[in-house]
């Protein structure tokens, strides 16, 4: 019996555009330029054409995409977190506190909550930086749950009522473009960062932390920096949403904000950041679209998730990237 295998060959344009950039036709230039430009075009145009309700969906899609990127970044440094909700909740509450008790305007609360939130997240997780893999994951899972209970039990920061009546955005255009632009900035910054020397050192910690240490690099300091970057992105999302809803409460620490970003990143493709965006753009609108069908919504949603993961375990983005850059054909195997 003849055996066959799939052969993959890089497209000529890909090989050339990787190395020397001698592109000599519009077709080739478009081949290289279009994919990186797609998210920019998409995210800037979508708010103009979507109806109001779907604009709100776009907002939460972008928020989950950002959270997914911040999760993906931590993973690329070898820290698997199950607690993006911690970053989200801290950012949300900080913005709420600054608004309610200090009376800061919105353009102060969000940046301050982002940076201070990043610092707080780093400090909170500092004692567990030495833990790896599932141990780190466990701790990050527990802390947001703990925060929720602390607020409930002490009645601190509005307790179960939360803080309501906060300042909203001046208008819905600013609201939607702030998050759209933030998503784009995060996407391209992260994609750039992981190919810089700094990013390579961070990824080195994931692959072989002993080798990095023997290179004279303080891996705990590097990990803390990565946590800060990831924490800032998460805290920004929280602060932003606080002002969108003009409310912050215990749900800011809910599991949704931990699990859905991870699902997005995994469905989209881990390690690419673009995958996080693709994943969020599939899962969040899907969940909204299923809202009409009632009780079985979660079941159908979960089934879709399983189908994606079983059919494309590498992630949608990796799959599309491969199809875009390589030919595939079946060839006979020589015995």
């Amino acid at each position: 019996m003849k055996e066959r295998r799939k052969e993959r060959i890089d497209r000529g344009i890909k090989a050339r555009s990787d190395d020397i950039f001698a592109l000599n036709s519009y077709r080739e230039m478009l081949y290289v330029a279009v994919p990186p430009a797609l998210p920019v075009i998409g995210l800037l145009i979508l708010p103009l054409i979507l109806p109001t309700y779907w604009q709100k969906v776009l907002i939460s899609t972008c928020v989950f995409a950002l959270l997914a990127m911040s999760w993906d970044f931590l993973v690329s440094v070898g820290m698997v977190s199950l607690g993006q909700a911690l970053f989200f909740g801290i950012g949300g509450y900080l913005a709420g506190i600054l608004d309610r008790y200090v009376g800061c305007p919105i353009w102060v609360t969000i940046p301050v909550a982002t940076l201070v939130g990043g610092v707080i997240c780093t400090i909170v997780l500092l004692p567990v930086l030495r833990l790896r893999g599932v141990y780190f994951a466990m701790v990050t899972l527990v802390i947001p749950l703990m925060m929720e209970r602390i607020i409930e039990a002490t009645g601190f920061l509005g307790g179960t009522e939360g803080l309501s009546g906060l300042k909203p955005f001046p208008n819905s255009w600013i609201e939607v473009y702030v998050i759209a632009i933030a998503t784009l900035v995060a996407l391209y910054s992260f994609r750039r960062l992981v190919t810089e020397d700094y990013g390579l050192v961070l990824q080195g910690i994931r692959d072989n932390d002993r080798a990095v240490m023997s290179g004279g690099i303080n891996i705990y300091w590097m990990k803390a920096q990565a946590l800060f970057i990831s924490g800032c992105v998460g805290a920004f999302c929280g602060a932003y949403i606080t002002h969108v809803y003009a409310f912050v409460g215990m749900p800011a620490f809910a599991m949704d904000f931990s699990i859905l970003p991870i699902a997005s990143a995994i469905v989209g493709g881990v390690g690419t950041f673009a995958g996080s965006l693709v994943g969020a753009f599939i899962l969040v609108p899907l969940s909204e679209a299923l809202r009409g069908i009632g009780g079985l919504r979660t079941v159908i949603y979960a089934l879709c998730l399983v189908v994606f993961i079983v059919a494309l375990p590498e992630g949608i983005f990796h799959y599309i990237q491969r199809k875009y850059q390589q030919f595939e054909r079946w060839v006979d195997v020589d015995q």
């Binding site: 390579l200 990824q203 080798a211 990095v212 023997s214 290179g215 004279g216 690099i217």
Partner: protein, 257 residues
């Protein structure tokens, strides 16, 4: 840099190890080991499998903290320091199992030591063009300049090149003391012939080297001094030829009659 000790007139050792001990559970991996290492010396560490050689390296470089004993480098006690602090002093090591960052091109593997604060401060506060430095370093350890090996994914490199890459990482850190854990193991004669001159050159530059080796013939050609470990005990310390004459060493290697 060597300091003169006025009392005895001897040079102060670069590295001195005193009464170092470490047990893992019931296994005494290293027991009361002590030796001095002068600047510019090439010390061989030999011993049968499981005699505690790698543990000794891990103790010196901080990857394992000792139960008791002292390690001093240039007169400074470094026992119990974190590995990266020790590396910053200029003590570099290779690992027995070379685990490169497989997806990266070979020269990008050197980015990590080149990124360390030690290299920046030695270069006067600036990192410079790390990629260019990395390529030069690889050429120094025998990656051919114009060939594509430098750019190949480290995971696909042949064994000989991986060992050279490990050595290049030590050079990248601009280390003064280089600890090579079984650098020669698994190398063909031709590969050895390529890597031996690199080590000769390092000695010529005045680097101090500790080599853990099983390939005694090659080691004895270049080592100034050899210490022998057996079941964690240091059983001999001296010139290569003298050491091999000792009864304990013969027994450790050949078994007692």
């Amino acid at each position: 840099m060597a300091k003169i000790d006025n009392v005895t007139g001897d040079r102060a050792p670069l590295l001195s190890v005193r009464e170092l001990s470490k047990s893992f559970g019931g296994v005494r991996a290293v027991v009361d080991v002590g030796f001095d290492l002068q600047e510019g010396e090439l010390l061989g560490v030999i011993g049968p499998n499981g005699s505690g050689k790698t543990t000794l390296v891990n103790l010196i470089t901080g990857f394992v903290s000792p139960d008791s004993g002292v390690v001093k480098y240039r007169g400074q006690t470094i026992t119990g320091w974190m590995p990266y602090r020790i590396a910053r002093l200029g003590i570099a090591r290779t690992f027995q199992m070379a685990k490169p960052f497989g997806a990266l091109p070979a020269f990008k593997n050197l980015i990590i030591p080149l990124f360390s604060p030690r290299v920046r401060s030695l270069a006067g506060g600036r990192f410079g063009d790390r990629d260019a430095v990395a390529k030069d370093l690889l050429e120094e350890v025998g990656f051919e300049r114009e060939s594509s090996v430098t750019f190949k994914a480290a995971g696909s490199l042949p064994h000989g090149y991986l060992k050279r890459l490990e050595l290049a990482k030590c050079l990248a850190l601009r280390a003064d003391l280089i600890i090579l854990d079984e650098l020669f193991s698994g190398l063909s004669i031709a590969e050895l012939a390529g890597i031996l001159p690199v080590i000769e050159k390092l000695r010529f530059e005045g680097k101090t080297i500790i080599m853990i080796e099983h390939r005694l013939r090659e080691l004895f050609r270049i080592a100034d001094r050899v210490v022998v470990l057996n079941y964690g005990h240091l059983i001999a310390d001296g010139k290569p030829a003298e050491v091999m004459e000792k009864d304990e060493v013969k027994k450790a290697y050949l078994g007692s009659e």
